[in-house]
């Protein structure tokens, strides 16, 4: 198979790829110049809608459609937030773009702001990316110096300011309304929707929140056209009117027990097998694979037998996973204990639950307590049923929480227990031969370091 020629990552190996000079030498900002000279915001919105671009941040909502939810003829201001709070375990594609090609992100962001008639954009970046922070700030400064930002950009009459805003190590800020609350200076508790941000968002004004990679895709769609974008990926199923398709290139993050971990660009729909073997150089140490996370830990688990799963917006769902998520594939080899995996997953979500909704706050904390007890050799088979009960009852899908964090906490539980139950039962019986069948209430263990 010939490798896909990278587009989003085309610049990253050039020396000084993060500078305006190098970006412009490669044709950068030509799309923005074309947009400002010859297109209306409406034209850009229609073009992005026609491209079928779906948000790259995790939920996969069609970007152009999201933009059209903004009220028509609104007197303003309309705000734009760029979500660079990438924190999903296993995910680092936004960091690649911001460190090695920040101008591509900014070009897409400026075009997106023009399309949505926003005159202020907040670039919300997680605290853990100091290099990306410095490079994006430098790129923004370069843009102001070159007349690509500020008042009357390139003489078009369109004005835009971009401000960087820094997070403080909280996963929940990646949820779009949590992000909005965080910018407003409050605790990042997600809001009840509706109203959706497009109607009432940041500072109670219409707001669009898009992901970094989505912005980069917007720049490429304007540079290369809708036909180019739609020629890549998996077309919509004509039998299913609700399928929006999976068009375009995607940045896949590959890590874990893999020979060549990294960020790779491939058409949407590449299989886990192809990603591991053609890009990742296979499993480390010649071992066998056992399982993989398909798109960040929130998406659940695929068994090694399910690695034919295509990584498009519909693929992982057909294998019982939550979805494509951030397309971050974490591969686990045969030495990994599912007890250990689940404990790590529960630890993450117990730490990152924002505490607003009781089912999530209590569900994630108790699932960690149960996993702690199982890991310590005091587990019972009944605990697996309790964990499943938590998994089936927390989240947006059962309808018990405001945001999807709890669904992300639930999916690893549900997938690991339903796909690896014999292994988990064997571990519990082996490590707790006296008490594995106990069903009466037993005390929880003291926890070390959730917070």
């Amino acid at each position: 198979m010939t490798r896909f020629e990278p587009v989003l990552l085309a610049n990253i190996e050039k020396p000084d790829s993060h500078t305006l000079k190098v970006y412009e030498a490669g044709g950068g900002y030509a799309a923005l110049r074309k947009v400002l000279a010859s297109m209306s915001p409406h034209d850009v919105r229609e073009l992005v809608k026609a491209s079928g671009l779906r948000g790259r941040g995790g939920a996969g909502f069609p970007t152009g459609l999201k933009w059209t939810f903004l009220p028509k003829d609104h007197p303003g201001p309309i705000y734009f937030c760029l979500n660079a709070d990438e924190s999903e375990p296993g995910t680092f594609n936004n960091r690649y773009l911001m460190e090695f090609d920040p101008h591509q992100v900014l070009e897409g962001l400026i075009i997106s702001c023009f399309a949505t008639r926003a005159s202020t954009a907040y670039f919300y970046m997680r605290y853990e990316y100091p290099t990306a922070w410095q490079r994006v700030q430098q790129a923004v400064d370069e843009c102001y110096g070159a007349g690509l930002l500020g008042k009357n950009i390139l003489g078009s009459g369109y004005s835009l300011d971009i401000y960087l805003h820094r997070g403080a190590a909280a996963y929940i800020c990646g949820e779009e309304t949590g992000l909005i609350e965080s910018i407003e200076g409050k605790r990042a508790w997600p809001r009840i929707k509706p109203p959706f941000p497009a109607v009432e968002g940041l500072f109670r004004k219409p707001t669009v929140v898009n992901n970094v990679e989505t912005a980069a895709c917007v720049a490429q769609i304007l540079a290369r056209g809708v036909d180019w974008f739609k020629s890549i990926g998996v077309p919509a199923d004509p039998q299913n009117p609700r399928d929006a398709g999976s068009y375009g290139p995607k940045l896949y993050c590959l890590s874990g027990h893999i020979n060549r971990p990294g960020c790779y660009e491939a058409p949407l729909g590449i299989t886990v097998n192809a990603l591991i073997n053609e890009y990742g150089g296979g499993i480390r140490g010649g071992r066998k694979a056992k399982a993989a996370i398909p798109g960040g830990i929130s998406m659940g688990l695929l068994t090694a037998g399910e690695f034919d799963c295509p990584l498009d917006f519909n693929g992982p769902g057909r294998y019982g996973c939550l979805g494509l998520g951030t397309a971050a594939v974490v591969v686990m080899d045969e030495t990994v204990s599912m007890v250990d995996f689940l404990h790590n997953s529960c630890q993450f979500f117990a730490h990152e639950s924002c505490g607003q909704c009781t089912p999530c706050r209590e569900g994630t904390a108790w699932s960690l307590r149960l996993m702690e007890r199982i890991k310590a050799g005091k587990g019972r088979w009944k605990d697996l049923d309790l964990l499943l009960e938590i998994g089936d009852n927390i989240g947006i899908i059962p309808g018990t929480t405001i945001c999807g964090l709890a669904d992300g906490a639930a999916w690893p539980l549900k997938n690991a227990i339903r796909k690896f139950r014999p292994e988990l039962e064997e571990y519990i019986k082996r490590t707790n031969p006296q008490g594995y069948a106990e069903t009466r209430a037993v005390p929880a263990l003291q926890l070390l370091g959730i917070h």
Partner: protein, 162 residues
């Protein structure tokens, strides 16, 4: 709060916080940038600083404290060390030995995660995914990412700080 009401924010810090106000239509939105600004200078945000930030932003101190305490990022009782070292413990790093690295550093430095060495040089922390999974296990110390760690590399990192 301590009995002293001596100001902890310098005139420069106040001016820097005020310079951010035009970026947002609400003063409260400057809360997080102000906390970062103070934390970078003082390596913690004591309660007196919270009171002073609230004064600049026309907020009740409780509003600022509410936001601050949500993040669990800003220390309040005493400054963190010269270097704050975040060892990632999320899944990709965990699979490749992050626990051993964190336990090793903890033993070597004689502190638990969240604590600062007696000489004030290092604060050891665990982190959830640092977004550098291709370099697992990794650690962010100050603004430097330490890649593909093992106990030897962790030792070298400590040696260089001494």
């Amino acid at each position: 709060m301590s009995a002293t009401t001596e100001r902890v924010l310098t005139d420069e810090m106040v001016a820097e916080i005020q310079s951010l106000l035009p970026r947002y239509p609400s003063k409260q939105a400057v809360t997080l940038p102000a906390l970062h600004l103070v934390n970078e200078r003082l390596r913690h945000v004591p309660l007196q600083a919270v009171v002073e930030i609230a004064g600049i932003l026309d907020l009740a101190p409780a509003d600022v404290q509410d936001t601050l305490s949500f993040y669990g990022f800003f220390k309040q009782d005493q400054p963190h060390g010269k270097v704050r070292a975040w060892v990632c413990r999320s899944i990709s790093c965990h699979l490749l030995g992050a626990d051993e690295v964190l336990a090793h550093l903890s033993r070597r430095l004689g502190v638990k995660p969240g604590e600062t060495t007696a000489d004030g040089r290092i604060t050891l922390e665990y982190a959830e995914c640092l977004g550098a999974c291709e370099y697992a296990p990794c650690m962010l110390a100050g603004t430097t990412l330490h890649r593909c760690l093992d106990t030897q590399k962790a030792d070298q990192f400590v040696d260089q700080l001494r």
